[in-house]
Symmetry: C2
Subunit: 161 residues, 2 copies
């Protein structure tokens, strides 16, 4: 990601991209979206929905497709994906929409030690044989690697009443 | 994790634990909880809250502590953590609370290709110098590695109205 250091930003003593790491992830598939360049991407999921993108989907690798059984069209899912173009070493950042620099863990910025994104989306179609899961929208770049799908459960995914 | 194969379960052709992986994660800290054995752990976050555990907290490694700035006590956060004891190769599972085997991606089971858990918790205290973040509850085993903290944003973390 072409993110130069801005005034007030703090870079980690260790760049997570350049150390062996503590555990590894596998890519279970990819996100397909109309956004081919970072400059095309909506800034967040709300803006993505406003642009009503067509053809957003997950393409799940053959090995992992049995794991889709039990999901249904209409269901809301939390998807976790790997923001492969993001820097991982900027701990205090100054996003354009903020008045002052702030910590990576208080932002939803892609720039963080583990560039894992969380997005709540709705399944619009599901084909277990081809591993294609239609979703209502995404702000992710076309081709972004997918890590996980989890059902949205209001009993644990919302603050208790 | 001591999870034997049960009737109707499907094991992946590839065990993600035994391949090099596509990317690596770093552990930014650990979760501390009263649960010292898997058999002690509440089944989910709702049950964890019912048991009113004391002393649940995140201990963030020194390198990553600047990333906490901007967080506040009282705030709800999504935390992502690594379920290091879970098997990664069982794609169709038969949890005890289900009538039939079902796909890993339709369950919140720790057993999944990338054993990353998602939990929405409330910050109860915050000390940037020591990297200790108190949280209201967790169902995670004491010592579970932490991957990320993200602010909960109702505009994107709830299904649109």
């Amino acid at each position: 990601m072409s993110h130069g250091k801005r005034e007030g930003e703090v870079v980690a003593a260790i760049d997570p991209a350049h150390i062996p790491g503590d555990a590894h992830v596998v890519f279970i598939g990819h996100i397909r979206s109309p956004w081919r360049e970072r400059s095309d991407c909506p800034k967040n999921l709300r803006q993505a929905r406003e642009r009503a993108p067509q053809g957003c989907r997950l393409e799940i690798g053959e090995t992992w497709r049995p794991g889709l059984s039990g999901l249904e069209a209409g269901q809301w899912i939390n998807m976790l994906y790997w923001m492969h173009e993001a820097r991982r070493d900027i701990l205090i950042q100054h996003p354009r929409h903020r008045d002052a620099p702030t910590g990576a863990f208080s932002l939803r910025s892609p720039v963080r030690p583990n560039p894992i994104a969380l997005a709540l989306v709705q399944i619009t179609s599901l084909d277990l044989a081809t591993g294609i899961v239609g979703i209502d929208a995404t702000d992710a770049l076309d081709g972004t690697p997918l890590l996980d799908i989890k059902p949205h459960l209001p009993t644990i995914d919302l603050p208790p009443a």
